[in-house]
């Protein structure tokens, strides 16, 4: 069976803590997603998402606080707008926009972490593996060169200079 | 206005009076109950096994019939309402059962089904199952009912009896608070009656136990009746043919067993609505009642 590779950006105030709660409650969900802890879902730059797809992610999941509950007042609204704008961009690149999901999950919603994670893994599994080679297409998308350790921002600056 | 109508077996056999009165009332309120051209028994009891699709097929098939006529279906019998509503919820919420049920329906070789070719599209729970009282409240509107009244029922003390099937289980029926329902009280207030709130209004009448264990069922029914009688009700209304059977017919047995037992008429709520709407008594048909409601109604100059 195809096991999708999923990158999750979880806000440390809510969804990350919700995933902790799912753990302390010993709830079970599929192990396809690796969670990166960010201070706020608003920290997630569309370029991080594009980078994930470029690096072979089959899906990207972002978890933030419910609207109105953001620890930083309105960070999650930024995320909401960015995700909404990024989805058509993904489609235009040939990436199904369902491969990107944003959900509001509070620290109390361990069950929701389980449901969203399970659902998303299924969605991505149904979509199948990402077969696009985005390396070329995204080369202008401010991604670093192949070699690890090349400073991304340097690459960005190069791109900027080119423009 | 036409609304698809599922009468169910009992309203075509024992409870013809209920069917007739309800159609007459609807007509008087500008609604035509359009009986499904093809329908079968709903199954009568919602299955408690959770792993079987077969047991809900009867209900689903009727809903699929209804889906060809409109987005709603109205029913009157509490059992039919219970089975249809719960089957519908299963179809709406359980993807696996939805698929299986549709496969069964497609394989259905029933010739009526073929005749109706009702299976051009999958049934996915698109029909809303309405009880007649919900239709009065939400489609017609109690305010319109109030405006259409011809006869005042003021001074008539009526106790609304809900029974079980209309209300429970709460989360599946989503009809009213099963512990303290009020929809029939609101309806009776619309009619101008004096509403008699009695604590046994949502207790069981004995139901099917009347076949297996008559003693228990009669005891249940008697508890319900005495509670209403004690609060000086003139009559009781209900919407369930089985409740009516237990509460009305079995008063004969109760009178034998209990000294000084006072009888009380039990009628369908649409029969009472018919009186208020000024519908001719013969279209309401009280001839089938064991305890004749006419003396009580005559006492209030209503018949």
């Amino acid at each position: 069976m195809f096991e999708p590779r999923i990158v999750c950006f979880f806000c440390k105030w809510c969804t990350y803590a919700g995933a902790d709660l799912a753990g302390t409650s010993r709830k079970q969900y599929p192990p396809n997603g690796v969670v990166l802890r960010v201070n706020c879902s608003g920290r997630v730059d569309p370029q991080h998402i594009l980078w994930a797809f470029r690096e072979g992610a089959d899906g990207v999941l972002i978890g933030g606080c419910h609207p109105g509950d953001c620890h930083y007042q309105d960070g999650n609204y930024n995320t909401m707008r960015r995700v909404a704008l990024l989805k058509p961009v993904l489609e235009s690149l040939g990436i199904e926009s369902d491969r990107l999901r944003l959900d509001w999950i509070s620290a109390a919603e361990g069950d929701k972490v389980v449901n969203v994670m399970s659902e998303f893994v299924e969605t991505v599994r149904d979509l199948g593996p990402m077969e696009l080679d985005l390396t070329d297409r995204l080369s202008g998308a401010e991604a670093p060169d192949e070699a690890k350790g090349v400073k991304v921002s340097t690459a960005k600056k190069k791109a900027k200079a080119k423009r | 206005m036409k609304i698809p109508y599922y009468p169910g077996c009992t309203l075509h056999e024992r409870a013809l009076d209920f069917d007739m009165a309800s159609r007459e009332c609807a007509n008087a309120l500008g609604v035509e109950l359009e009986e499904l051209p093809v329908w079968t028994c709903c199954g009568a009891v919602f299955p408690l096994t959770t792993d079987s699709v077969m047991d809900i097929l009867a209900g689903v098939r009727n809903l699929a019939y209804a889906s060809r006529m409109g987005d709603k279906v109205v029913t009157l019998c509490s059992f039919c309402y219970n089975v249809l509503k719960r089957s519908n919820k299963v179809i709406r919420e359980d993807e696996e059962k939805r698929e299986k049920a549709n496969l069964f329906l497609k394989a259905d070789t029933d010739e009526r089904a073929e005749m109706e070719s009702y299976l051009e599209q999958d049934y996915v729970g698109q029909v809303e199952v309405l009880h007649y009282i919900e239709m009065l409240r939400d489609v017609v509107g109690f305010d319109k009912v109030a405006k259409s009244l011809k006869t005042s029922l003021k001074g008539l003390r009526v106790a609304p009896y809900y029974g079980c099937m209309l209300l429970r289980p709460k989360k599946e029926m989503e009809f009213d608070d099963p512990e303290r329902p009020t929809i029939f009280e609101d309806f009776l207030e619309t009619l101008g009656c004096d509403v008699v709130d009695f604590p046994m209004k949502a207790e069981c009448c004995g139901g099917f136990q009347i076949v297996r264990d008559e003693e228990t069922a009669i005891a249940c029914s008697q508890t319900v009746l005495s509670s209403a009688i004690k609060r000086d009700a003139d009559l009781i209304i209900t919407t369930c043919p089985l409740c009516l059977y237990n509460l009305d017919r079995k008063q004969k047995e109760m009178a034998k067993r209990v000294k000084g037992f006072t009888k009380i008429p039990v009628i369908y709520f649409t029969q009472l609505l018919g009186i208020a709407l000024g519908i001719d008594e013969e279209h309401l048909d009280f001839s089938d009642n064991y305890v004749d409601p006419r003396p009580v109604l005559a006492g209030k100059k209503l018949v």
Binding site: R26, Q28, P30, V35, C40, E55, N78, V152 | K170, K230
Partner: protein, 652 residues
């Protein structure tokens, strides 16, 4: 710089090792670029575990450490301290969460869980490789606390902090301090009178030189961060000039308008101008305009006429006060689960079915019946009283699923006090389980059952209804399997505790977490029970979960001690995970300024670049993502780091 990262994989007993192949994880990671040392150990958080980290740092010259164990909320601080003790900058120590996010949630697939653990650890290795050595940012701190809610929890917390030498602002939305405890009659298990032990404390908070008491006030807005909160308080119009009023009570005496008393739970009436109860603190009345004849019709004005000091001011408006504090304790208490939701027990329509707080008032010597239990319907003394536990609680189907914790005990107390009043009366308690986990609690229950002949029946009551002036109780005794029917004179409902009605709104304003029932969430269920996850907010009392008075007082004192510990430092040390802007690269577009919710970015007009004020920046990262040239970065969570982490998460 050459990376020399140390990886430490914790077994956590079998919590991790039972699912994740820790040996394999440690071996695989030893091969990962930049890893100089990799090992596994039974309990990393133990002393030997921490020493393992310290020794390895020295022995292998580690430049960074990844402890792969539980959630960072648990032990990040522990291992940062361990790192610092071995002269490794604390911000070069990170945790990889392979317990909550891996072993506990993927028990079914050990192979995949092991693979995932490796990936998680790799992401953190990549992060730590680029972590800068940072120092906490010191910011000035206001050594003054605010306590929201002046029930017993708020009172205790305020007194403890004030007695430790810090100023406290105590805010209460009601006209008097005291909360629900002031309503109670006697308290279990000692049966000392609630008011007798509470009122001295009420007086103390009102007279303490370090406590600023603000009653009839609500929190309107909170801004700032730990150490430096700015709180806007709404002082509700009381139509009484509180600077002038001497509390003579003449206005109350003469007021002709009456309404149901909240303090007596509707069992008696109060005037439109009122103090909630006789011992109210402060003893100044407030005017309830919703029930005032003057506000309704423009006539009356009696209170104004009789006031000897001209304190009545019908023109008074809500006022707003601004207070600066360094820490906030939230102690907003509880309400009872609404009786109207309990249809099977009459939903509040049966007069002689009362709530537990109403029964407290009936038992109280200062209550509407002078301490003699009388039925609300006819004032008769009831001879058969039925007490129901778990009303609205432990009922996941219909109501609240949690145990309300105190009902078994207070209903036992109710039954006992009733029996002390009415020796020939009969008290029944229907119960699911009698829960008495507290000092002297079980003995108290035994006493009620054995000495006071309270009859305990194990079973639920399905229905209450009125019949012939009695309350009919239909229940079941599950020990004998018998149906139980009681014609009671009175029934008392042990309703569940729920968070007070204003708790949710306040939580949203303070940005503190709640659980799904609206109780405030503590930072850790065991180890940080009185702190909120949001820094600077502390929790006390039933607002955090149902609890009894001793527990509330203990929690309030604990919260106060946490505040005092915070105040022990002159300055507050904040996490340096803030934003920074490379001035050479900044194009001066000002987009970041428009995104920042804290106004933490100033613009240097001369150089035409944006600059972060580190003392204000909260480190959300929202505007870093907004920066079009990627010159704005977050310390130790830069774009570069995130890219590398993403890549590591996806590596096979």
């Amino acid at each position: 710089m050459e990376h020399r990262i140390g990886v430490f994989v914790c077994h956590c007993g079998t919590n991790i090792a039972g699912v994740v192949d820790v040996k394999r994880v440690a071996e695989e990671l030893a091969k990962y670029p930049g890893v100089a040392y990799s090992t596994d150990y039974l309990y990393m958080c133990s002393d030997p575990g921490q020493n393992l980290v310290k020794d390895a740092i020295k022995e292998h010259g580690l430049t960074g450490v990844v402890v792969s164990a539980c959630s960072p909320t648990l032990h990040e601080a522990t291992f940062r301290r361990a790192g610092a003790a071995a002269d490794l900058n604390q911000y070069r120590v990170e945790m990889a969460n392979i317990r909550e996010h891996c072993s506990w949630v993927h028990r079914g697939d050990k192979e995949m869980a092991t693979e995932k653990a490796i990936k998680i650890i790799k992401t953190m290795i990549e992060k730590v490789k680029q972590n800068e050595a940072l120092e906490p940012i010191s910011v000035p701190m206001t050594h003054r606390a605010m306590v929201v809610g002046a029930g017993i929890a708020g009172i205790q917390a305020a007194l403890d902090i004030a007695n430790a030498g810090h100023d406290v602002v105590l805010v209460e939305k009601e006209p008097s301090v005291g909360g629900h405890m002031a309503q109670l009659s006697e308290t279990f298990p000692t049966l000392d009178c609630s008011q007798c032990i509470l009122t001295p404390k009420m007086v103390e908070v009102s007279q303490h030189p370090r406590i600023k008491l603000l009653t009839y006030c609500e929190i309107d807005d909170v801004s700032g961060y730990v150490g430096n909160f700015k709180v806007r308080i709404k002082k509700k119009a009381a139509y009484v000039n509180r600077d002038v009023c001497n509390g003579c009570g003449l206005c109350i005496e003469k007021c002709p308008a009456k309404t149901a008393s909240e303090f007596d739970e509707g069992l008696s009436e109060r005037k439109a101008i009122y103090t909630p109860f006789a011992q109210a603190v402060p003893n100044q009345p407030v005017l309830d305009r919703d029930h005032c004849i003057y506000f309704e019709s423009g006539k009356c004005g009696v209170c104004q006429k009789v006031c000897p000091v001209d304190a009545i001011d019908y023109e008074q408006k809500d006022e707003f006060l601004d207070e600066e504090v360094g820490a906030i304790i939230v102690a907003t208490g509880f309400d009872l689960y609404p009786i109207v939701n309990i249809g099977e027990y009459g939903g509040g329509d049966i007069k002689d079915v009362v709530t537990s707080l109403q029964f407290e008032r009936l038992l109280s010597a200062s209550g509407p019946t002078g301490g003699v239990v009388r039925r609300p319907s006819d004032g008769e003394i009831p001879k058969e009283v039925v007490f129901l536990t778990c009303v609205g609680s432990r009922d996941p189907e219909g109501h609240m699923p949690y145990c309300s914790k105190v009902c078994c005990m207070y209903l036992t107390k109710h039954a006992m006090l009733y029996k002390h009043n009415e020796h020939d009366g009969q008290a029944y308690v229907f119960y699911m389980d009698v829960r008495t986990p507290g000092k002297d609690y079980e003995e108290f229950y035994q006493r009620a059952a054995e000495e006071d002949d309270v009859l305990y029946i194990r079973g639920k009551v399905s229905k209450l209804f009125e019949e012939d002036g009695k309350v009919m109780v239909w229940g079941v005794d599950t020990l004998t399997g018998q149906k139980v029917e009681i014609a009671a004179d009175m029934v008392v409902l042990g309703l569940a505790m729920v968070p007070s009605a204003t708790a949710t709104e306040l939580a949203k304003m303070l940005k503190i977490q709640m659980n799904q029932w609206g109780f405030y969430s503590e930072a850790h269920p065991k180890l940080r029970p009185v702190e909120s996850l949001a820094p600077g907010f502390y929790l006390a009392g039933a607002a955090q979960g149902p609890k009894d008075i001793p527990e509330v007082v203990a929690q309030a004192s604990a919260a106060a001690s946490k505040v005092c510990a915070l105040f022990a430092e002159k300055e507050y040390h904040r996490e340096p995970i803030v934003a920074w802007i490379d001035e050479d690269e900044c194009a001066g577009c000002r987009i970041c300024i428009s995104v920042c919710p804290y106004d933490a970015i100033e613009f240097d007009d001369e150089k035409e670049v944006a600059r972060v004020q580190e003392a204000i920046c909260e480190g959300c990262g929202a505007r870093i993502a907004a920066c079009p040239s990627a010159t704005a970065q977050q310390r130790n969570l830069t774009d570069d780091q995130l890219y590398m982490m993403v890549s590591a998460a996806l590596e096979d």
